[in-house]
Amino acid sequence: MPCAIRIVVQAEPFDTAAEIATIRNADANVGAVVSFSGICRDESGRLAALELEHYPGMAEAEIGRIAHEAVQRWSVDALTVIHRHGKIVPGDDIVLVLAASSHRQAAFDAASFLMDFLKTRAPFWKKEHLANGSAGDWVDAREADDAARERWKRDTEK
């Protein structure tokens, strides 16, 4: 069955409720919707904001490649990925991933897979702005994120 894929990269905030309302009506057979919201934290007051740089064009293309891989692997009816760039303050959304399916496990797996690959393959970079006014540094990539991606490798790829 064809899967509706919606990919958005934008600076503006997005409406999570409206996105969920749309995807749950993608198909009368949707029985499970999993959503993931990635939210800017203040890290116990340390951060004033995160600034997200991205590679326009490749960001959308790479998210599209990741989404198509998810569709190959799980029986999902619809996927939505929205990723913001620019300055984002604590409490605001950075990323939204939605997966709709007939059954819950496919929706959980597809959403979790999308997040693990977004973290390590989508061309976005976070720079910190500190609450004390000083310039922050670029966020380091986490080895835990690479490990999270590795667990999705198929046996033939290991």
Binding site: M58, I94, D145
Partner: protein, 83 residues
């Protein structure tokens, strides 16, 4: 050929993008990193640890041993931290 830099690679090189003519012997992504390292202090600083630098050719990730000949657009950047 258009080269594009992101995040701290961009900051250290000091420019977001540039047009460059590559010598014929620069045929892989790894060759390109070595070639650029010799172009000046900013490049050397940005590409000091080439292992961690990611390369995209025409907006797709490539490994350092992959060919870049004929590419329209090549981007160099640090490991991604989105999501």
């Amino acid at each position: 050929m258009k080269l594009i830099y992101f995040a701290w690679v961009r900051e250290r090189i000091g420019t977001a993008e540039e047009e460059i003519e590559l010598p014929a012997e620069v045929t892989t992504a790894g060759d390109l990193l070595a070639f650029l390292q010799a172009r000046g202090e900013g490049y050397a600083e940005a590409l000091r640890d080439p292992k961690i630098i990611r390369v995209a050719v025409n907006q797709e990730h490539v490994g350092h041993d992959e060919p870049i000949t004929g590419a329209r657009e090549i981007a160099l950047f640090p490991p991604m931290t989105g999501g």
